[in-house]
């Protein structure tokens, strides 16, 4: 198998049993509970290829920012596990951890409104999914700790309701398929079921039936959609910190080109400490349906109807590992048959394409943004870059009309402030959610 990165053709049967466990350490140390100090409201993150490096052949996860979390049974300082290799994702909400990465850790179940243990299903845009029980944990990120956080334990069980898998065979419940030991969703919402400012999985949503795929309860092997109270839904752990709980700043350094790795910080809180103040010249983009607007190549990608979130909109998402946008400027796409496999969803300009788009907030703000697109086939197959985790020129196709996905390459050299809907924001700033840079 080619040694490189992204395009690892991982057969589903690839044996990875035990891989996740190697990154888990049973901890007997006490959790750090210091808050309010400007030196503890952050944690290191690294774009380093992730936990598959050295574990799985060719396993470099490109443009993924990874971090660690310490997870304890509520109130315990001994029933804990520290999990590294969590993908930092501003495009989703909630901490989701591979069961295989925390084997031996016992956490209490969280119940749905019907009194039975709740299960969560997350569908990703590529129709892969995560399935598993909702459990309660104390979560420590850097120097901040949140108590009794509902998290998702990504289950090794293959008993997944069809409305969750929905035709996909991509159950990403292993290190080999997820490429991470879990996902740390620190997006713009407080739980994973907020839509239009309302937690639509809650029994108080007014819906006659629980929406799906979202939460379930199971009887034997039969699982059915269920309502879950807002406070019991898989939560953004940052929103549950005692302080510094209104958002995050993703800080990654500028890069001049592809590189093996870079390190940065995930800073907690906006305008709450000396190290998280909004710069005076910052541009704030308020969001509609958690999206903003991008104009690019003569096209406009933004929400057109705030009542039903028609659009589609544009979004900044550290969990997307490239820039993905409709091909409005006719960039050549890559061949289907390369040494790295079918790359037809990626762009392959003959030389680096320097482009510009404009980001627009619902509040009228505007900022031009330059970006580069490099030949993905070359990035993934050239010996000079094929083991690099940092690929700022990695870009691909978003289907026609489907908006601009500003993935991790956008974050290099930009301190991205992402506020959380419903949380208080610094005086003078518009109501959350918004992004600022």
């Amino acid at each position: 198998m080619h040694k490189l990165s992204v395009l690892i053709f991982l057969a589903g049967a690839l044996a990875i049993a035990g891989c996740g466990g190697t990154s888990t350490t049973k901890s007997t140390s006490t959790t750090t509970t210091t808050t309010g100090s400007s030196t503890t409201n952050l944690m290191p993150i690294a774009v380093d290829g992730g936990p598959t490096v050295g574990q799985i052949d060719g396993g470099v996860y490109p443009n993924g920012a990874f971090a660690s979390a310490t997870i304890c049974s509520p109130g315990s300082t001994t029933n804990c596990a520290t999990v590294s290799g969590l993908l930092v994702d501003t495009g989703s909400t909630g901490l989701r951890v591979l069961q295989s990465a925390v084997s031996g850790l016992n956490l209490p179940a969280v119940n749905a409104s019907n009194g039975s243990a709740a299960y969560d299903c997350v569908s990703f845009v590529d129709d892969s999914f995560l399935w598993g029980p909702v459990l309660q944990a104390d979560v420590t990120l850097g120097g901040e700790a949140a108590s009794k956080v509902p998290i998702q334990m990504i289950s090794t069980s293959t008993n997944v309701p069809t409305s969750c898998s929905n035709g996909s065979t991509m159950n990403q419940n292993t290190l080999a398929t997820l490429g991470a030991n879990g996902i740390l969703g620190v997006g713009a919402e407080r739980t994973d079921c907020f839509y239009q400012g309302e937690s639509v999985c809650s029994p108080t949503s007014g819906l006659a039936n629980p929406p799906s795929p979202a939460y379930y309860t199971c009887s034997g092997t039969t699982c059915s959609p269920a309502f879950v109270a807002t406070n019991d839904q898989v939560a953004n752990p940052v929103a549950l910190f005692p302080t510094d709980n209104n958002g995050v700043i993703v800080e990654l350094p500028a890069v001049s080109g592809s590189a093996p790795s870079v390190s940065g910080s995930l800073v907690f809180g906006i305008g709450t400490e000396s190290n998280n103040q909004l710069p005076s010249g910052a541009t704030i983009f308020t969001l509609t349906c958690d999206d903003f607007t991008t104009t690019f190549g003569g096209q406009t990608y933004g929400i057109t109807n705030s009542n039903n979130c028609a659009g589609p909109g544009s979004f900044i998402d550290s969990g997307s590992n490239g820039l993905y946008f409709p091909n409005a400027t006719n960039i050549p796409t890559c061949p289907t048959n390369t040494a790295a496999g079918d790359l037809s969803s990626f762009y392959c300009p003959s030389s680096t394409d320097s482009l510009s788009a404009t980001m627009l907030g619902a509040n009228g703000s505007s900022k031009a943004t330059a970006f580069s697109v490099q030949n993905a086939e070359s990035l993934f197959t050239s010996s000079s870059t094929d083991s690099d985790a940092v690929l700022p020129g990695m870009a691909g196709f978003n289907p026609s009309g489907y908006g601009f996905d500003w993935g991790l390459p956008f974050f290099y050299g930009v301190n991205l402030y992402s506020s959380i809907d419903g949380q208080s924001v610094p005086s003078g700033a518009p109501a959350a959610p918004w992004w600022a840079r």
């Binding site: 035709g167 979202a214 959609p225």
Partner: protein, 174 residues
């Protein structure tokens, strides 16, 4: 919020009160909705199906429908109570040639893709396994699958190239 659904929710609440003993399981609810909305729906579903299959999807989704006619096809926009909008494109020959969706929850694809569901699933399985989540663009002779979005904002488009009416650019369907 979700203003468009308030009326429907009220209707549902009334239905719920009337039928509450029956509503413990979603399939029971779907059965009730079918019974309320129509008495003679075929079991077949949508992509590749006929207009009556749209009615079946409407009932399955507990959706309200907004129907518009163009020169070469009709659109049936199905709005589910939780906010997901499924649009089905019906050619003048009476066949659903494309379905699109957007909203906070993925629609039940087994329902709306009907006899094409297996082909859809096979198309998903055919793609190379790569780390990272990204939009899908699967172009096969028999079926095209395109998806995008993020948590609580799913976008998708599935069409059957052979069924697309002449002169219609399926890549522009929203």
């Amino acid at each position: 919020m979700l203003g468009q659904n308030i009326f429907w929710r009220r209707v549902k609440r009334i239905i719920m009160k009337l039928f509450s003993p029956l509503l413990y399981r979603p399939f029971v609810c779907a059965a009730v909705s079918v019974a309320v909305l129509s008495f003679s729906l075929p079991a077949m579903a949508s992509l590749g199906g006929h207009a009556d299959s749209i009615q079946a999807d409407t009932a399955h989704m507990s959706a309200t429908v907004n129907r518009t006619s163009g020169s070469s096809y009709e659109t049936h926009e199905l709005q589910s109570p939780a906010g997901t909008v499924v649009t089905e494109y019906l050619s003048s020959s009476g066949t659903v040639f494309a379905v699109t969706w957007h909203g906070p929850f993925m629609p039940d694809l087994q329902q709306i893709l009907g006899s094409y569901f297996a082909q859809y699933s096979a198309a998903l399985s055919s793609r190379p396994r790569q780390y990272g989540h990204r939009p899908l663009n699967i172009q096969q002779t028999g079926i095209v699958v395109q998806t995008s979005g993020h948590m609580r904002a799913h976008w998708g488009r599935v069409y059957v190239p052979a069924l697309v009416p002449e002169g219609v650019n399926a890549e522009q369907l929203q």
